[in-house]
Amino acid sequence: MSTAGLDEDPRIADPDDQHPPRATVGSAHIEEEVFGKAYDPRTVRRIWAFVHPYRLRIYLSVFAVLVFTATQLAIPLIIGYAIDTGMAAGGDATDLAWAVLAFAAMVSLNFIASWVQEKQVGNVAENVLFDMRRAMFKRLQEVSLSFMDKTEVGRLMSRLQGDVNSMQEFLETSVVSIGDLVLLFGIVTVLLSLDWGLGLLTLATMPALFVVRIFWLPPAKRAFWAAHETNSATNGAMAEGINGVRTIQNLDRQKVNFHLYDDKAWGNLKTQLTGSRYAQVMVPIVDTLTGISMATVIVVGGSLVLNGGLQVGVVVAFLFYIQRFFDPIRSLTMQYSIMQRAMTSGRRITEVLDVPVTIADRPGAIALTRDMDGSVDFDDVVFGYNPKYPVLKNVSFHVNPGETVALIGPTGSGKTSAMALVHRFYDVQSGAVRVGGHDVRDVAQESLGQQVAMVLQEPFLFTGTVAENIRYNKAGATLEDVIAAATAVGAHEFITRLPDGYDTVLEQRGSNLSLGQRQLLSFARALVADAKILVLDEATANIDSYTERQIQKALETLLDGRTGLVIAHRLATIRGADRIIVLQNGELIEQGNHDQLMERKGLYARLYTMNYASFDDIPDDLINAVAAEKSGT
């Protein structure tokens, strides 16, 4: 034994040292794909499938963007024309009037086009975003539980939220980018056609911008990425501080965490500022290039005017265009990173959409109705989460309509899996599970759910009122039904003591209730569902013996007229069952009623005589010892 027992004073370091050796807040980030492709045809096709229903509106907005761009191009030309032709000193104003009329027409077009385009693009992007989210959510309702078992909720949420949002940015900007591209080419064309030589001279600054951007882009991207990373790390630490606040206060970690968070937030500030420097350094560069172009136009254009080779209006138009020239280049380079992000997000969204639905209704699946007989059959069932290691091995049994069967066995014996199969959470590897005489694979899942009510060991409540939680998806249940169910499970009393009774809103999945109370509500919920078959994973762990008794009584009412399959832990429940099925290591080893099993002197009898109130209370090693002994004999 080491000399450092738990008796000595634990504080071995200077408590004022604000940077303890092993403390962290938030998790280390997981490197994600950043510098990916900006264009991935497969992903684009998938995204397009979502845009497709709105394609007419997209075509309309692309058209509007083209019109908008054309008007943007035309306006300086009209002004130039007005100056050159309409404003001859002392002349008449007819040409000017025409020019102004043309201007008015262009401006109106510009107004309509920009309105149409922005509204359509914005709304379509929102629609697509919500559609994508719904498609993912719907898919997640259908995929097998084995997928959900493996996947963190947080990860799915980041796809449902973050990835979808970055798609919105992409969709909104991509139509605008088309406009930018057209505008860029339009300006180049107009400049060159107005005056070939002057146009080329003006555009000479363009390669310089490209060269600068080539050098600027890699470090800038790294800086932007670092800023993004530290930001999400800081936010992660904040979320952890919120979710773990009770533990943090309990263990008095506030001071340490505050300093650690301060470091994180400060580091984030630094990277944000670096990112900002990289973004802003382009401003004077672009302005300088604009200045050079304008100076060139003035000197060269002025000389051309002097030689009579150019009209003043053209010079004015040139100056107008130059001021517009760099905007599209700037937003197009920005669009590149947006596209990269969107492709990454798109891939992650399609990953969710592509999760195979392994358990689906067969075509022409039978709908189970209330008048099926309520029997349950396991016919030579083999099942494993990993096919190599089956957790149920050739299990066969029959439950008669109205019978109550207790399923017992040590942890890992396959009880919970067997229950899950009745509801077809998973599909069997071989053999068949039949409900009411029908193979569950031939039955419509929704009708199966309506006839097989389930109470899980872990109670789960939704934000909403108590009544809503008990009613859940049984829309037809009246408040009287709800109250009756609550009364039957002995929950009515504590519910009426809540501030608003049945209308009390449960915060945070019922965290304002004790675990036992939550369990009672989940019982009431199963009762309201009024199914023919009740599958119950008895939750001795969460309910104290006192409440337990109420439930024992309620169970009798509940099971009356129903087939009951109970994963039983309590001897009271077990003894009350019509039949007991003992599972061990995935095999059915014994079945019969209490007296029959006692007679057999098998595992059940051995465990029973050990005097534990609950089978769960029996230490694992003891069970193993008995089992080994039994298999030895």
Binding site: P10, I12, I248, V316, L319, H423, T547, N611
Partner: protein
């Protein structure tokens, strides 16, 4: 502290001072408070504002220079070509210089404006984090953690952006429009008025839009958080959803929330687009007027083409900020909405904090005393605890039993002041827990809770969470006592294995054992097990209890459990019903009493026997 860190500290400022600043101006308008916070960075604010003004003035020079150049070009025929050329060169070079300078000052403007925003954001983050940790359980019971995250992420961002996207734009627009107006009006009153005619319209539209958008923003955020909650709960409770075939029900719930949010999102976009389009149109309309009247003036010879061109160029320069006016309006709307929510959170009263002049808790005998304690939750009509009195001495183990909702956990939560007793008092060695500092109290009271929160870090850090300075041997010792060591040694990286949301997940029983190990790393004077062994099998629990009994001599141990076998060794068992102690005594006493405890005990088919005897069997 090294010189380096000292320097770093100085530039960073005092974290506590930042937090205090965020609390200043309680109750006043959020926009004022944000402005105040920005002004705490006077140098950067000054640079940003000065750079904005200079950049705006330089920008105003550009149309002047262009107009001058055009006039020079037009008159070029009438003057000597050398002079004309020199004039053009001079204008061109000035223009180039002005452009470069404008770029540089714009850089300063943007960078320092963002810097102010990021600094304010940093300070508010600290204030937010500090507040989250300070607010007592009763606050966190009422507020959904998702809503808090929204406040800390989105609302904080909305505030952070206010300086660069809101306030600085006000300066920019004021200079551009103000000085520009003066320049234009002094050149030609009529054209100047026409050129500026769109400004009042834009101002009116934007104020209307501001009100509308602000409300839509607020509603949309709310609807989006409802949607988030629905998705989170669905995914978290997927088994329940499947068990009840609730997929359709869930999709309906999702669709209803989604449709609401989408409707608002559309409304936001449409309002925004309508406003920006109308603003741009009014700008172009004004330009058309300038073109018509200005053109006529040129024809009449009243002004030069260059002057007209400079008017038009000036308007082009104004077009960008006018478009940005929409963004600025958005920024104001967002900052005030976000600010309202954020500061409402910052201003929330902290119900449990150190009393002025609170002293350190001093442990002498290690006696815990409940003296006539009553407790009523906020908004509850019935008290949860009534007149609870008992005394526990160091070395004693107190068991607490009762029906769910009888107040067992609440009782435990009063000791470390997660809640404060409504009546009566809880004392440790004669010191009322409300009179000592929270830090000293909580370092001496360890509550092992029902639900264990795992932090995404190594299992070692998780165990040492309450005392990150603990020696490794101590951590291992704690893990051994909690019967977790062997499991840990089987993990891929042993004590360095990362657990939690992004790491290895632990079973319910393992989590509870980790929670016990966490408390054992500390050296509490009072240790409370709040139904914290429910997911641990009885044999393991028994081993844990024997392991920690060795260290229990100097502390009060309180075990709240539904499992009577956990309480067998308690020196005293309190039976609680409806918030009051109705029976107390040892297991044997209570059985002999033949009251409620006995009844509860008999509810089980078989009496629970001493596990020791069973374990002793070969």
């Amino acid at each position: 502290m090294s010189i380096l860190t000292a320097g770093r500290r100085r530039s960073r400022g005092d974290a506590r001072a930042h937090v205090a600043a965020a609390h200043a101006g309680k109750g006043s308008s959020p926009l004022l408070r944000i402005t105040f916070l920005s002004l705490r960075h006077p140098v950067q604010v000054t640079i940003a504002v000065a750079a904005t003004m200079i950049a705006a003035l330089l920008q105003l020079l550009i149309p002047r220079l262009l107009g001058q150049a055009i006039d020079q070009a037009e008159n070029i025929v009438s003057v000597a070509s050398d002079t004309a050329h020199n004039g053009l060169w001079a204008t061109a070079l000035t223009l180039l210089a002005v452009s470069v300078a404008r770029g540089v000052f714009t850089l300063f403007q943007n960078y320092f404006a963002e810097s102010v925003g990021h600094h304010v954001g940093y300070e508010l983050r600290l204030a937010f984090y500090d507040k989250v940790q300070r607010l007592s359980y009763s606050y966190h019971d009422k507020v959904h953690s998702g809503d808090l995250i929204t406040v800390g992420l989105l609302d904080l961002d909305g505030i952070r952006m206010f300086f660069s996207t809101g306030l600085i734009r006000v300066v920019l627009l004021t200079v551009l429009i103000g000085v520009g107006a003066w320049m234009l009006l002094s050149t030609d009153v009529l054209l100047g008025l026409l050129a500026l005619s769109f400004v009042p319209f834009v101002a009116w539209r934007s104020s209307v839009a501001r009100l509308g958008l602000r409300k839509i923003w607020l509603d949309l955020q709310e609807k989006l958080s409802v949607l988030t909650r629905i998705m989170e709960e669905n995914l978290g409770g997927i088994r329940v959803v499947r068990a009840f075939s609730g997929q359709k029900h869930e999709l309906d719930k999702f669709d209803a929330a989604s449709a609401e949010a989408l409707r608002l999102a559309h409304r936001r976009t449409n309002t925004r687009v309508r406003n920006t389009s109308m603003m741009t149109f009014s700008f172009f309309a004004a330009m058309g007027l300038v073109l018509w009247f200005g053109g006529n003036k040129v024809i009449a010879g009243e002004i030069s083409v260059g002057t007209l061109a400079s008017f038009l160029t000036f308007m082009t320069i104004l077009q960008m900020p006018v478009r940005q006016l929409g963004l600025m309006v958005n920024s104001f709307a967002r900052a005030s909405t976000c600010g309202n929510r954020f500061f409402a959170f910052i201003d929330a009263p902290v119900e449990i904090e150190d009393r002025p002049g609170a002293r350190e808790l001093v442990i002498t005998e290690g006696t815990l005393e409940f003296d006539g304690v009553g407790f009523t939750y906020d908004g509850a009509s019935q008290p949860t605890l009534r007149d609870i009195s008992f005394t526990a001495r160091a070395g004693e183990t107190i068991g607490i039993v009762g029906a769910p909702g009888s107040g067992k956990s609440t009782l435990a939560h009063l000791i470390p002041r997660f809640y404060d007793a409504t009546t009566g008092s809880v004392r440790i060695d004669g010191q009322d827990v409300r009179d000592v500092t929270l830090q000293s109290l909580r370092s001496k009271v360890a509550v092992v809770q029902q639900d264990t929160f795992l932090f995404t870090t190594s299992i070692e850090n998780n165990i040492a969470y309450g005392n990150p300075w603990a020696k490794e041997t101590r951590i291992e010792k704690a893990a051994e006592s909690a019967q977790l060591h062997n499991y840990i040694m089987g993990l891929p990286a042993e004590y360095d294995t990362v657990v939690g949301e992004r790491g290895v997940s632990l079973s319910g029983g393992q989590r509870q054992r980790l929670s016990i190990a966490r408390s054992l790393v500390l050296k509490p004077a009072v240790m409370v097990f709040d139904d914290s062994t429910a997911a641990i099998d009885a044999g393991t629990e028994h081993r844990i209890r024997s392991a920690i009994r060795r260290y229990a001599a100097n502390r009060v141990t309180i075990i709240i459990s539904h499992r009577l076998s956990s309480l067998l060794h308690a020196d005293r068992i309190l039976f609680i019903e409806d918030g009051a102690i109705i029976e107390q005594g040892t297991h044997a006493d209570l059985l002999a009493l033949g009251g409620r405890y006995k009844a509860l005990h008999d509810l089980q088919t078989r009496p629970v026997e001493d596990i020791d005897a069973l374990e002793a069997r070969p």
